[in-house]
Amino acid sequence: MSDADELVLLHGRLVEGVLDDAGRDRLRVLLADAQLRRRFAMLLRVDGGLRELHRMPVTVRRTRRRPTTRSRLPLWQPALAAAVLAALGLIVWLARPVTPASAAPLAVWLDGDARPSPTAAAPQAVGPGHLRLSDGSRLELDPGCTASLAADGGVRLAQGRLRAVVVPQDPGRRLVVRTEHADVRVLGTIFDVAVGSAGTEVGVERGRVEVAPQGRPVQQVAAGAAVLVPPQGAVRPAPPPSWSIDLADAGARVGWVGKPRPDGLELAFDAEVSAAYKVPTWNLLAPDPGVVGLAAFADAGELRWEVSVARRTLVAINVQMWGRDGGAWRGTVQRQETLEPGRHRLVWPLRTFQAREGATLAAMQGMPIRKLIVVTWDGEAAVTVHRFALGRPVAE
């Protein structure tokens, strides 16, 4: 194998995160050569370019189709139906206004979703699902979230909650999420927008967004803060998006020592339990009366969390209910799942958890949630929890 070919393979392992020490040593030797270094730089460019390119709608092809019931029909029926549809389609096509741009996708569904992409002609997107916008920004629509996309990159959120991960914007251009109550303008950041009967809630995880309520003064919302824009009246601070805890930002993994946060949440490595059960275990402690955003266990609640696993591993979340005085444990529910390598954004309805130690889900209703426990069976290095969100579905 030539050095150039070897370099190509080593680059492949490097970007997949599987290059071992011997490979790194060899790569170092090869990169000392100017020609090979140039080759390597082109590989970096191609790799980054492919990432970038596949954020563009036109390159994604749909391969999976929903199952149909056509085969159950008598043979002549589908033929007739096809002929009628074809005729109708031809009439509609002949009568259509000539607007080729209306068919261009404004975004694509990720996760291998086979739904048609939103277009200018049919701009609506309904969650759950993840959308990649043409500039590479990502919208994560919760179940029940309904949004419409505009050709200028804007998003109108009709109901529900979405999380926006916004990539660098060209100068002078900002992604705008509009609701009936406010415009939320952003340069590049991560934030949540939710519309409910109480108004529009905006919570910022990173960066800063500008909230422009209808007919009221514009204000900026910084990372870690949230505001509620009610249908009328003054904009007021909302509970911070602290039901959504970004563990990387919290610095909580450094040493895994309980670390108080401004929102009162506390994350701690449970050395005692970890040693006793031989599995790394972390506790997320919430101040009484419960985790912000969901004071009490409810069937309708859901846990949303984002986790990366380096290899196939079993992870579990325990949700503990304690008494209102914070003193006595009242019950635990658990859900566990084997995750494939990669990053996962999971929505686990609380009704899908199993009650532990003789308890029942019905008995948990209304009890204050005091603690979330993350349990992994594959070591700390294999699992990184990026974010927790515990709350009621917004559409409720």
Binding site: L31, G48, H54, T59, V254
Partner: protein, 174 residues
């Protein structure tokens, strides 16, 4: 943040945005796969926040790469995974490679890469799509196409090399 920037800052930001793909490629070489997206976001935010600190006679892209390295280091430290950083010498060589390419060439347009992709066979384009568009793990791709994980990795490497050749030819023809 952008409001505080002048017209010169806009030019810098335009250059930054135009080289987004190069930054992604660079980050993928120095950060573990699961931290690339987060690093990318962080770099963008820091560049905007600290644009006023950039010395106008300096090398803007080198400055951005420095921020990228710091962001990756910070994320890895928080995750207790500093051992995942490339060692100093390898990091220097990766930087040197990226800098030399920037000096020699304009940022790669996605249109040219798309044309090169169009020259691949359909099964090969499918593998690229599974990995890059749908973020499928190598093992899942292997299952889907009836191959092995190692073979998929080698195929992807060769496809990237072939695309690099195609991009190189396009540049010399232009």
């Amino acid at each position: 943040m952008a409001d505080a920037s002048g017209g010169g800052d806009d030019d810098l930001l335009r250059d930054f945005v135009a080289r987004r793909a190069d930054l992604l490629g660079y980050l993928r070489a120095i950060a573990p796969p699961d931290l690339v997206e987060d690093s990318f976001q962080e770099v963008f935010l820091v560049v905007h926040r600290r644009l006023a600190d950039f010395r106008r006679d300096g090398d803007f892209l080198a400055w951005v790469r420095g921020i990228a390295r710091n962001c990756v280091r910070q994320l890895l430290r928080r995750a207790g995974r500093l051992h995942c950083l490339p060692d100093g010498e390898l990091q220097v060589l990766i930087d040197q490679a990226a800098a030399e390419l920037e000096d020699e060439t304009e940022p790669a347009g996605v249109d040219r890469l798309r044309r090169c992709l169009g020259r691949l066979t359909a099964p090969h384009r499918r593998i690229i799509e599974l990995r890059y568009a749908l973020d499928r793990p190598l093992a899942a791709i292997a299952r889907e196409i009836g191959s092995t994980e190692g073979s998929v990795q080698v195929t992807l490497s060769r496809l990237r090399a072939s695309l690099a050749d195609c991009l190189g030819r396009g540049r010399s023809a232009a």
